[in-house]
Symmetry: C2
Subunit: 413 residues, 2 copies
């Protein structure tokens, strides 16, 4: 597997476009379109929030029932959440418009929205946006990058990543190159449960839909579901994976080596996008990573790691470059899983040095200057040796800053 340039247009047969539809933001693009040349198997994971935005309801019907799709229409600025029947009707109208212009069934058009909860989306602007985007569709890498910028809200950087790997060819003659790339957005209200704010991944791999969904659900647990910016699970979380099969690999129909290669590539893309989202949390100045290892179960490792990166006190401490490891210990203690506080060991892991914070039931003396140097790195990494078993998990978050408060005290206006 190797990293390649690009995002949603890295794989064969995917085109993208974007435009400034003027939905809420002015002077920037705010709408994106992704289209596959041929029908795709589609997999998705969605918010577990009981309050689901209208596009989530729309997408779930297609992913769970139709299981194939051709296109995704995404807007930033307004979330189309808490919009009642009118919001749902708007989804049908948008898909209808896109379907007509693209010459495909509206039931193959997925929708995504992100932004403020409450207001209705203006259908005419969405239609005008589609009219601009359809003739501009391009399979260039730049078109994918432009799309990843158009779906940003409070994000400060766009997020895309792509990999290539080889699989046996369908015609039996050697190997073919398969590509998998994606984009995502998300900066606040980020505490994905099943998936993240908005993420779109495309691949030219030929793979059965059931395995596509299985790989996505598996990988999400250790990537998008392991990040948190503020503990708030959005009403709009949507992650979609399109596979059009144009790489002409021998179809993946069981959990064999090819499936594992595909799964590893998917993990790589999802982890990269997830970590980028965590590091670009609203107002963040540091990416924060917590690795829990030698745990008794994977689920406990995940729960412990996530408790630490969600702790407001740990997040504020990372902002202040304070080596107050008692807060990490405290978060592990209230996380839920059982462990012996007298046995575990806590570390601060710098690029070069490692500092032991806590061992044998006591906070350790450590070199404050060395700790400050490590806490000044852009990515701040903690780890905990549970001394219980062989499982591990890593969670990613960001620090809690003045700017998070500023951004969220003044978001709607």
């Amino acid at each position: 597997m190797r990293k390649i340039p690009g995002g949603v247009t890295a794989a064969k047969g995917f085109k993208a476009a974007c435009c400034a539809a003027g939905i809420k933001y002015q002077g920037r693009t705010d709408m994106a379109l992704i289209v596959s040349d041929t029908p795709c198997a589609v997999a998705g994971t969605f918010t577990k929030n009981l309050v689901k935005a209208a596009p989530v309801v729309w997408d779930q019907q297609i992913v769970y029932q139709e299981k194939t799709a051709r296109a995704a229409v995404v807007n930033a600025g307004i979330a189309n959440a808490a919009t009642g029947e009118k919001g749902l009707a708007l989804c049908a109208d948008t898909a209808e418009a896109a379907g007509q212009m693209l010459g495909i069934s509206p039931k193959t058009v997925l929708l995504g929205s992100t932004g403020v909860i409450g207001p209705q989306l203006p259908l005419e602007r969405l239609r005008d946006g589609l009219k601009q985007m359809v003739p501009a569709l391009s399979d260039s890498l730049e078109a994918g990058t432009a799309a990843s910028k158009a779906i940003m809200t409070t994000d400060t950087v766009n997020k895309e990543f792509a990999v290539a790997f080889d699989l046996p060819a369908a015609n039996g003659e050697g190997a073919v190159t398969v590509r998998l790339g994606g984009m995502s957005k998300g900066s606040g209200m980020i505490h994905p449960n099943m998936c993240t704010m908005l993420g779109y991944i495309t691949t030219d791999c030929r793979i059965e839909q059931a395995l596509l969904q299985k790989a996505l659900s598996d990988v999400v647990r250790d990537t998008f579901n392991m990040i948190s910016v503020d503990g708030d699970t959005s009403t709009n979380d949507t992650l979609l994976l399109f596979a059009n099969g144009l790489a002409e690999n021998a179809p993946i129909a069981q959990e064999d080596e090819s499936y594992e290669a595909f799964r590893a590539a998917l993990f790589s893309v999802c982890r990269d996008l997830a970590v980028k989202m965590a590091g670009d949390g609203e107002g963040a100045t540091h990416l924060m990573e917590m690795r829990v290892y030698h745990a008794d179960t994977r689920e406990n490792a995940r729960t412990l790691a996530k408790a630490v990166i969600c702790s407001s006190l740990v997040k504020a401490m990372v902002f202040g470059k304070e080596a107050n490891c008692g807060r990490i210990l405290c978060a592990l203690g209230y996380a839920g899983p059982a462990f012996d506080p007298a046995k575990i060991e806590l570390y601060l892991n710098g690029e070069k040095d490692t500092v032991c914070f806590y061992r044998d039931g006591c906070v350790q003396d450590f070199d404050e200057e060395q700790a400050l140097a490590i806490l000044s790195e852009k990515a701040v990494r903690f780890s905990c040796d549970m001394k219980m078993g062989t499982e591990e998990a890593t969670a990613w978050g960001c620090d809690l800053t003045y700017d998070y408060v500023k951004i969220n005290g003044d978001y709607r206006s």
Copy 2:
């Protein structure tokens, strides 16, 4: 029942003192002592954090096994948490010293510590503090107030409250007055699970220890356990209730009318102290209240109310006086309990006016100026009609501010 002045010395036979022991803070009191003239039935609730501070371990032994006590020694500045065997030995030494000076068994001396996690407490300073406090013990209301100030850390105001109520006299001749008063501290790392940071309540009521514990455990669920400042459950949470029986009421030995009167008085004191802690959250500029009513079960009402006051996005919105009700809806949606988003109604409740935010599945149009006026009140109150049943619960928190980040980015130093 009526509010009376004072706190831990409001009830008959309780004395208090405090001193500047110089444990960490300079130029202020940082140590308090509460003593009952006679043995007390004692009840307590403690942190459910797996990492328990040494004084919590010490107190649990006394409350769960001895069930009687005479005194409490409390310090601010250092938490005596993550201090291993040495921290536990210090508890025994402190209780021994207090017991000797007071002429009581060390097994009747409860301990409480709050402050930074990690460092060891200096025994000599604790001993010197006790030497100052024992001769200064006083049953004046001022002594109780001074004690409530000595246990503060990042608190900006001291917290005490007391009530009096009448119960049948033990001698059968009419009624006697029973008094119940308490103090508490807590401002950060406040997300009590079983009780809050540190709270001490005294009463001269005569009541069996089992009923004392039952009343405390019941009341805590709807008071201290319904507040949150930052979602972080401390290693030191301790709430103790001392009953010395000096009011000479007919002993409460069953769940009769007298028990209910006692329980109501206890609820009143616990709620007042809990709400004061929520409103004095680190950096807070607003108290935030969320009332959930017409819920299907009490537990679901509690869970829903608490999710809203814990949401970083709702907290930041209250700081910014933003009427972004989608965030409240979002928090209810990820809280866990099932409900129909199309049926519930959300309100902003001002002292005079009420604004309906959300109804019939849609965010409602409302008067922005009216909402801004209500959001500018010191206590910001939201409510949600679940339209499912008859249960209700209220949770209290505070807004998320620049100062919370500042305080916690720079706490240890």
